[in-house]
């Protein structure tokens, strides 16, 4: 019986992995197609001024004259061998190019994510569940912050913390040839900016969601039954809200990993957002696909994990 159950679970796991792989493959393929659809390429950027013959010659030299499918499957084959390829123009290892940005982005993503889990979510729940002067003040601040554009918020933070108070450096560069962990101070400003932006953005969603749960019949009945307020929150309300919270958290991961280009540029932080934008602008498809494939994988995994939590909650008798 146990063996059968184990086989069934393994089968489900294998199916889930297969599904994840297929979605990932399709998404990476679409990303490649999108890059292909963009006007211009590395060759035209480099020698466009010199006419179509020069462009055609360079495209041939770079292998861009080969059909897209041919190039995509060649890249895929190398990818599974652990080779991310080389940049089209400078023939530099893509792995080398994305190593520093990957470490930098993963590091602040982890820090901000922990900040969201341990500070922002409890704060949002507190403000939605306990109505008092403090919760109202925090809510208003969150609304204010969410209405300020990302670049303005980052500039204001730099002006205040770096220029006026001189608490942090303006530049969040770890130093030439160093990783961010060799100079952890470099992570503070971008982490703080990103945490503030993400907190402000998710605060309203979380508050509305918790308020919806507070108004559900089973929570109201729990109140009427005279149960302790904290007990209702932790035993009845939060387990049901967990899948929704997980979905909101999951949606912040792709942004934190590569959507933080504005914060990275303003703080000079060597993250993946800036590298990705530069690669798209210069039409360096190998770099874009390498970063994209990683982001897509992380995003799919996060959403799968969030869905899994939702299903688990439902199976265990969660409401909604």
């Amino acid at each position: 019986m146990l063996k059968k159950l184990g086989q069934a679970s393994l089968g489900k796991l294998a199916l889930a992995i297969f599904k994840i792989f297929v979605i990932w493959l399709l998404a990476v393929f679409v990303l490649g197609l999108l890059m292909e659809a963009l006007p211009g390429d590395v060759a035209s950027n480099k020698v466009g001024k010199q006419g179509s013959e020069a462009v055609a010659a360079l495209r041939k030299e770079m292998g861009l004259d080969r059909p897209f499918l041919d190039r995509f499957f060649f890249w895929l084959g190398n990818f599974f061998k652990g080779d991310l390829g080389k940049t089209l123009l400078t023939k530099k290892d893509v792995g080398v190019i994305i190593k520093t940005p990957l470490i930098s982005s993963l590091s602040i993503t982890t820090i901000v994510f922990l900040g969201l889990v341990f500070v922002s979510i409890p704060l949002s729940i507190y403000c939605a569940y306990y109505k008092n002067a403090l919760s109202r003040l925090i809510s208003r601040m969150a609304v204010l912050l969410s209405s300020v554009p990302e670049f303005v918020l980052t500039i204001l933070a730099i002006m205040l913390l770096c220029m006026e108070l001189r608490l942090l450096p303006v530049l969040s560069i770890p130093g030439p040839g160093k990783t961010v962990w060799e100079n952890p101070v470099s992570m503070l400003m971008p982490s703080l900016s990103l945490w503030t932006i993400c907190t402000a953005a998710m605060f309203r969603y979380l508050r509305v969601m918790i308020e919806t749960y507070v108004n559900t019949s089973y929570v109201r009945e729990a109140f009427l039954a005279g149960l302790n307020k904290n007990k209702i929150l932790f035993i009845h309300l939060l387990p049901s809200a967990l899948p929704g919270i997980a979905q909101i958290l999951a949606s912040t991961i792709p942004y934190l990993l590569a959507g933080s280009m504005v914060v990275e540029t303003l703080t000079a932080y060597p993250g993946m957002g800036y590298t990705l934008i530069q690669a798209v602008q210069s039409r360096e498809t190998p770099v874009v696909i390498a970063i994209g494939s990683f982001l897509i994988a992380i995003t799919i995994l996060c959403y799968y994990l969030a869905d899994f939590l939702g299903k688990k909650n439902k199976n265990e008798g969660g409401i909604l």
Partner: protein
């Protein structure tokens, strides 16, 4: 022939003794502090000059590999080269390296390295127009001398080609070892680089012991970091950063140089209507109030242009009359020619070009010509040159270099970048004469004739020069080479 030989000897004399790099004994002179520079790198930058594209990468290359000659508004300055002598027919140049010139690893530089290096650099499409005239198969080397054979006589080979940038590396392999003022210690394009002074530098060990170049893409961040003292030199700022820095007494804002400045241009396409008519081109040039455009769009770092390139260099013909706005006359011509509308394709390949096009549209409205602006993504601009050649007008830019260097790429039939499609027999004939004479006075006459033709009949409305904006802490003394700071001969004693 005898006359030519005499002239080439004179040219060699001028180069040998006229403008040569002063050797600085920095050990005894000034003890400088290390310096931190903020510049922008591209994530895929390498140590190879053929592929480098970013300003930070360019600075790194120049610091590592130096140049045989560099450019100065008054003429070429010998750097790694001790002398450069042209033959009588101006189709071969013998370059002699400085005595005992060694790379940072102690290996002696050779004449063959010059040939190998320039051959390699010439494979880049960006440098092909410069080095394409060298016949490498016929070029020869002996010890620290290289004789470069040219495919056709070129009197301005030093100023227009070598002085633009002529890096040298062992065996022509650019892997980080060079004879430049600095040696690469560590770094990458994402986090920046640390360079240390080259003990074996031919002009003496640089006074600045260490240079740290940080990758800072944003102008605002550079300005802020300069104010907090996190960097000492901010390279590539925009006008808003200038306003911020003006209030800081410890920071110096150099006025900017025309050498390497960006010339802002509106191409009046001579291939199609209405600008295939020289009178209509003249009317367009008289429509635009250049002083107003420069004041509004370029501010203190702008300079009015006169439809020609090369302003600021000694060979630029200053005496050609400045085109001034004359809207009455322009309106009359447009009406006579029946021109009521045309299209400008505008693209921010240099920031501000779309705004410039919009401002010009207002100017043309005053002469009753409606301008339709089509905006184009700067990333795809150069990929669509074929289509642009079918449009009546489009925005463009040039790096300001010597007039002769510009003619070669801008207005000849064979020019790589003859984007306006304009050339003439006057230009072709005078250019041929100019490259065949080393008599500066005679050459100036030909330069004048070509420039005048471009000014009066050409298809380019070059309205302003945008100088490079840099700022640094007080106490830095450096020369610039096409906007790139030449730190090998600089001193930096920051004011407390």
């Amino acid at each position: 022939m005898k006359n030519k030989s005499m002239l080439s000897l004179l040219l060699a004399f001028v180069l040998l003794f006229g403008i040569s790099l002063p050797v600085v004994n920095t050990e005894e002179a000034i003890q400088s502090s290390p310096i931190k520079i903020g510049a922008m790198f591209s994530p895929d930058d390498t140590l190879d000059p053929v592929t480098v594209t970013s300003p930070g990468g360019m600075f790194l290359m120049m610091s590592l590999y130096d140049s045989l000659v560099s450019m100065h508004p008054d003429g070429a300055i010998l750097r790694m080269a001790e002398s450069i002598e042209a033959n009588g027919t101006l189709d071969a140049y013998t370059i002699t390296l400085k005595e005992g010139l060694v790379y940072s690893d102690g290996v002696e530089a050779t004449g063959q390295d010059i040939i190998d290096s320039l051959r390699y650099v010439s494979t880049s499409p960006n440098y092909q127009s410069m080095y394409g005239n060298i016949d490498f198969e016929k070029s020869t080397a002996e010890e620290n001398k290289a004789t470069l054979a040219l495919k056709e006589p070129t009197s301005d080979f030093i100023e227009s080609v070598l002085a633009m940038w002529s890096p040298v590396a062992p065996g022509g392999e650019f892997k980080g070892i060079g004879a430049g003022g600095f040696v690469l210690e560590k770094g990458d394009p994402q986090t920046g680089y640390v360079l240390v002074a080259n003990e074996k530098y031919y002009a003496g060990k640089p006074s600045i012991p260490q240079v740290t170049i940080l990758n800072i893409p944003d102008s605002f961040s550079k300005a802020q970091a300069l104010q907090t003292g996190e960097i000492d030199y901010a390279w590539g700022l925009d006008a808003s950063a200038v306003q911020m820095l003006l209030k800081n007494e410890g920071i110096e804002l150099p006025s900017g140089s025309l050498d390497g400045a960006i010339a802002m241009d509106l191409i009046l396409n001579t291939r199609v209507e209405p600008f295939n008519d020289p009178e209509v081109r003249r009317a367009a040039k008289m429509t635009v109030d250049r002083e107003k455009m420069v004041a509004v769009l370029l501010g203190n770092y702008g300079e009015v242009a006169n439809d020609m390139l090369g302003k600021g260099f000694s060979t630029y013909p200053e005496d050609i009359e400045q085109t001034k706005a004359n809207k009455e006359e322009a309106k009359k011509i447009f009406q006579e020619k029946g021109v009521t509308e045309f299209t400008i394709v505008a693209s921010d390949i240099v920031p501000g070009m779309v705004n410039a096009a919009k401002m010009m549209a207002q100017e043309f409205a005053e002469v009753e010509v409606n301008v339709v602006i089509e905006e184009l993504d700067p990333q795809t601009f150069f990929a669509q040159m074929g289509d642009l050649f079918q449009k009546s007008a489009f925005t463009f830019y040039w790096m300001n270099r010597t007039p002769m260097a510009e003619f070669r790429s801008q207005v000849l039939k064979a020019s790589f970048y003859n984007v306006s499609g304009y050339t003439s027999d006057v230009i072709e004939e005078n250019f041929k004469k100019a490259i065949n004479t080393s008599d500066k006075a005679e050459q100036a006459k030909y330069v004048y004739a070509i420039s005048k033709d471009i000014h009066d009949n050409g298809g380019e409305l070059i309205w302003g020069y945008q100088k490079d904006i840099t700022a640094h802490r007080k106490g830095l003394k450096t020369e610039l080479n096409q906007t790139v700071p030449w730190l090998a001969t600089a001193t930096f004693v920051p004011e407390q």
